[in-house]
């Protein structure tokens, strides 16, 4: 399928759910979707276009908002779904009812960025250690780490 065919197919299947589609490079599509439409759009794409393979979920801290990208792929193209949620009410719906393999990626963005994924089946920490203090979210832009002083055994510090 050529890129133009894919754009036309997505617009036909999703209708008003997709706010904009960008095609910056061959085989790469970025779809902008509003947060309430996320789960229905994912379900439609899975059923109509066979989009079952989720590669990962990335989160970017843009200052006032969080931008979350869902990187899907079908044999003909890579579809990246983008949503933005405000930082003061950081909630996004979980897509695990549709894509069960998304669970680990959702746990990771929850702990790294400090947002909440609603209806997540298992919301424990994934990567950060057990004794990590609450409320510290490493991937936020305003979070800085101050390294404690090192002790060099047998020498000058």
């Amino acid at each position: 399928m050529r890129d133009a065919d894919i754009i036309e197919r997505i617009q036909r299947e999703l209708g008003g759910k997709v706010a904009e589609i960008a095609n910056p490079a061959p085989r790469r599509f970025y779809l902008k979707i509003l947060p309430p439409d996320l789960v229905p759009a994912t379900a439609l794409l899975r059923d109509r276009l066979g989009m079952t393979h989720l590669s990962t979920i990335s989160g970017v801290d843009k200052g006032e908002t969080f931008e979350i990208l869902y990187h899907f792929s079908i044999p003909e193209a890579d579809l990246n779904l983008r949503t933005e949620i405000p930082k003061d009410k950081p909630h996004v719906a979980s897509i695990t009812p549709i894509i069960p393999g998304a669970i680990l990626y959702e746990r990771e963005i929850q702990e790294m960025l400090g947002l909440t994924v609603d209806n997540i089946p298992d919301g424990r920490r994934l990567l950060l250690p057990d004794d990590w203090p609450d409320g510290q979210f490493p991937l936020r832009k305003d979070w800085k780490h101050v390294r404690p002083a090192e002790v060099i055994p047998g020498g000058k510090s």
């Binding site: 910056p24 490079a25 085989r27 790469r28 079952t52 393979h53 989720l54 590669s55 990962t56 990335s58 970017v60 990208l69 990187h71 792929s73 044999p75 003909e76 890579d78 990246n80 894509i99 069960p100 393999g101 998304a102 669970i103 680990l104 990626y105 790294m112 920490r125 994934l126 990567l127 950060l128 250690p129 057990d130 490493p138 991937l139 780490h145």
Partner: protein, 400 residues
Amino acid sequence: MKFQIPIGPQHPALKEPISLRMTVDGEIITDADIRLGYNHRGVEKVAEAKNWIQNIYLVERICGICSHSHSTCYVQGVEKLMELAPPKRGMYIRYLVSELERVHSHLLWLGVAGHEAGFDSFFMYVWRDREIVMDLLELISGNRVHYAINTVGGVRRDLDEGQKAKILEGVATLRKRSEYYLHIGANEPSFVARIAGVGFLSLEKAIALCAVGPTARASGWPRDVRKEDPYAVYDEMDFEVGTADSCDVLGRVVVRVKELLESYKICEQILHKLPPGDIAVKAPRKAKPGEVVSRYEAPRGENIHYIKSNGTDKPERLKVRAPTLGNYPATVEMLKSGFIADIPLIFASIDPCICCAERAVSLVNIRSGEETIVRLSDLRRRSIEQHKNAPPKRNAVWPF
């Protein structure tokens, strides 16, 4: 009564710490839980403080076995951001190292699989032959691991005729040896019987849980990033994607052996078609604002990097998802309704690269609620003992 057993972070079998808690009922595992985080080094945060060139060396050290795959995936993405077109010769050399790395990784894994199944002499033989590949890689790049041959815009070192001849000779020797191992593996009924039927993962589950790489291809999932998203050189090469239908550890061994043989073919094609010319173009210091998604077929599966830049010389966001992380939900599924004795084998069959995601194994005894730490070496010994006198399984036959 149900037991839960923890296999602690430090164990000798898997060279890396990871924690799996498994709920067992007698000998059968009913549930498994993975505890990651022992190997979390905060690479994504560190990458935001280094510039594009320094990040090549950081990203390479995410993993020691698939280091070139992370480095290449990153550099592919940055080159797209900077709109650079590296010269053909540079691309060919880069992907030659990729295929040699795939060979080295699969040979490593074959040795580990043999070791887990109790076939230690196979392990020693395969790792001796892996040294041939390590020598070739050292010839090309100067180091056995962490080749650092990529730079933004191409590669750093060139190949001359003497090196080319040595590589072709090495690949020919390896091909002969690999076919010999194939012959041994296929004709050793206890080895085949040990691994057939273990670690079952059906195709529907593999698709739903987003498994990648040979783990999913052994269940009949025919996708490979080299065929779908052919970056640079792969659309000019003639090779096939290996799949298997048996959905178990035997299928995964078969898929990896098929990939090994295809890699030799690709290496020879690259060397015969190597064009003359430059090996790199000059890259600008700053990248234009934008974002890029870069995918790559590492030996373990699909590797994806998402890079976002804001016009400076440091990335705004670098997101890395290594293939082993994508296989974890599938591993949990495979462990359910398996035997305790099969844990090392199932776990080794996804080719875990724990540094790409760290783990240890712990089994918790549901019945009494007490935790016993079972070392994977004990589990392995137990499993070998248990299967030594078992009758060979009826349909455990090597498929080709």
